[in-house]
């Protein structure tokens, strides 16, 4: 901790070249850590992950969600801005006609391959309708098959925002 740092090719003193003293100094440093951690297990910086969650900034980009209109249908108009902006090419949208001519276009399917996604946020940045957001705070994505990471419109529409699964 307060040891000298030698640059590459730096000269070591005789004492240092004897190794033994320095080795015991190192052993002293490590055992201090052991003792401190033994006596204060609670102070460990480790996050006990499934039980504890690290609090992330509200700007953290988690799993995507699709916003809804007041009537519950997706706000997305299938403009493909997000899939065009996506550097990972992982948004797959098929557009369809919306019965309301004022809306005109809507996604028939909206799928994201979360395994390919790099969570760059360019999709939410690109969306002209604020229809896709990454504010769910969900970062622990786990599933037992690849297919389960391929999430569809229903899933994205019903993604919760409070960071719980």
């Amino acid at each position: 901790m307060n040891g000298k740092v030698h640059g590459y090719g730096g000269k070591m003193t005789l004492w240092e070249r004897l190794y033994l003293g320095e080795i015991f100094r190192g052993l002293g440093i490590t055992i201090r850590h052991v003792i401190r951690n033994l006596l204060h297990t609670g102070d460990m910086p480790t996050v006990q992950y499934p039980e504890e969650h690290r609090a992330y900034s509200p700007r953290f980009r988690g799993r995507h969600r699709l916003m809804k209109r007041e009537d519950g249908t997706p706000r997305c108009v299938a403009c493909m801005m997000c899939s065009t902006a996506c550097p990972a090419d992982c948004i797959h949208i098929v557009a369809e006609e919306h019965p309301d001519p004022a809306i005109e276009k809507a996604p028939a399917s909206f799928e994201i391959d979360l395994l390919r996604c790099v969570y760059c946020g360019l999709c939410e940045e690109a969306c002209p309708c604020d229809a896709i957001r990454m504010d769910t705070g969900i970062y622990d994505l786990a599933a037992d098959s690849r297919e389960k990471f391929w999430v569809d419109k229903e899933f994205l529409l019903n993604n919760t925002t409070d960071g719980t699964r």
Binding site: L27, T30, H33, V34, P45
Partner: protein
């Protein structure tokens, strides 16, 4: 007949201790490294919520390794490949035959020496067996037909050759002092006091030899800072890279049994073996009536303290996990209380009225305990060093072995010889 029976019992005892120590060492390695690095270490695996700070993990590991697929890569030499891990593990156990783990055990007036084979060339045997260990590594590394394993094996051999020499020379210094190749004699000799107050331990009379031997022992066991045969950063994992399942586990266990051997050797040769300084057998037997109750009282006190700590934890962390793990502190407190009560019950048996047979037994138990304690300490020392020091570069390793250790060992031998000749 008796001889066979007692030998088998002693072997069983040794095996039980070593094989029991291995999982504990693996746990200590993981937990110790975690604490050194300010991490928590293993704390997940548990049986009905009992996790014992991660001690259950080795059990889970063993189960996992047992059920893993035994993959044999294409192009291996089948016989050698299969044989190597067994050889390594077998050789690592062989050394114990000559290490005395206690003085003697008195049963029905007969004294059974606590060593499996009291060879008169014990130290030579140790050296011979130690150099055998590298055969398994070379076989495994070569038979795997992989350049990384092969490099690991080659490194292991050259390392072994380089450090074997200084190890042998360091030991010769010790031989000059102890004047016997028989390990029981070496240990017994260390029970005396030098100038009336200093234990005549190997480390006291041969300090340089002790350091050289310990360094060589690190190298022989392939432990950091000498773990080049398995240097992960350059050789993936070295000679056992292509092994999986139980074959890998054998290599892994051999590493830790080797650790125990090395620790036992260090303790035996340089740290008094089973001797307890200033508490010779005679003293213990004479004072048994005081020692035993004192020990029992200490046990009760420790149990009470542990129980109190667990109870405090139980009240602090009530409902922390919301599953079986919440019961652990309470249960552990209960176990401590029971152990403490057992100690109290033993006190009620008036242990201060202990007879001579009991006193002899107590002395044996204490000596064996001292030996095991020393071994465990050196095991920890190995782990401690590993997580403190960085790995050598190969040229540094060779430099140290040939240009530093060898001359020092020679000098040590010469000086010792001169002193031994004139004193």
């Amino acid at each position: 007949m008796d001889l066979v029976l007692t030998t088998f019992l002693k072997m069983a005892f040794i095996l039980a201790v070593i094989l029991g120590l291995v999982p504990v060492l693996i746990w200590a390695e993981r937990k110790g490294s975690a604490f050194i690095q300010d991490r928590t270490g293993p704390n997940r695996a548990g049986i009905a919520g009992i996790r014992l700070a991660g001690l259950i993990h080795p059990i889970a590991d063993v189960l996992k390794l047992l059920f893993k697929e035994d993959v044999r890569p294409a192009g291996v030499h089948r016989v050698m490949y299969a044989l190597a891990p067994f050889l390594v593990f077998f050789v690592s156990l062989l050394t114990y035959a000559v290490i005395p783990f206690g003085d003697y055990l008195e049963v029905g007036g007969r004294r059974i020496p606590l060593v499996v084979a009291d060879l008169d060339v014990g130290i030579l045997y140790v050296l011979a067996i130690a150099s055998l260990g590298t055969y398994g590594i070379v076989m495994g590394g070569w038979a795997s037909n992989n350049k990384y394993t092969f490099l690991g094996a080659v490194r292991s051999t050259s390392q072994m050759i380089s450090y074997e020499i200084s190890m042998g020379l360091a030991l010769m210094g010790l031989l000059l002092v102890s004047e016997s190749l028989r390990l029981t004699d070496v240990v017994a000799g260390q029970g005396q006091l030098l100038w009336g107050f200093l234990p005549r331990w190997g480390v006291v009379v041969q300090p340089l030899g002790a350091i050289l031997f310990m360094t060589a022992a690190f190298a022989e066991t392939n432990r950091n800072p000498f773990d080049l045969p398995e240097g992960e950063s350059e050789l993936v994992s070295g000679y056992h890279l292509e092994y999986s399942s139980m074959k890998f586990a054998l290599f892994f266990m051999a590493e830790y049994t080797n650790l125990v051997v090395a620790s036992a050797l260090i303790a035996t040769l340089y740290f008094g073996g089973w001797n307890i300084p200033w508490l010779s057998r005679a003293v213990i037997e004479a004072r048994a009536g005081v020692l035993l109750p004192a020990l029992l009282a200490a046990h009760v006190a420790v149990c009470a303290l542990a129980a109190a700590l667990y109870l405090r934890r139980a009240s602090r962390e009530r409902g922390k996990f919301g599953d079986a793990r919440d019961r652990e502190p309470g249960l552990m407190a209960g176990v401590c209380v029971v152990a403490g009560l057992a100690g109290l019950a033993a006190l009620a048996l008036r242990p201060w009225e202990i007879g001579p047979a009991g006193a002899s037994l107590l002395a044996t138990v204490l000596q064996v305990g001292a030996f095991v304690g020393k071994v465990v300490f050196f095991c920890w020392f190995f782990i401690w060093v590993r997580w403190t020091l960085p790995r050598f570069r190969y040229d540094q390793l060779m430099h140290l072995g040939w240009k530093v250790m060898l001359p020092l060992a020679l000098a040590n031998l010469v000086v010792t010889a001169v002193v031994a000749a004139f004193v």
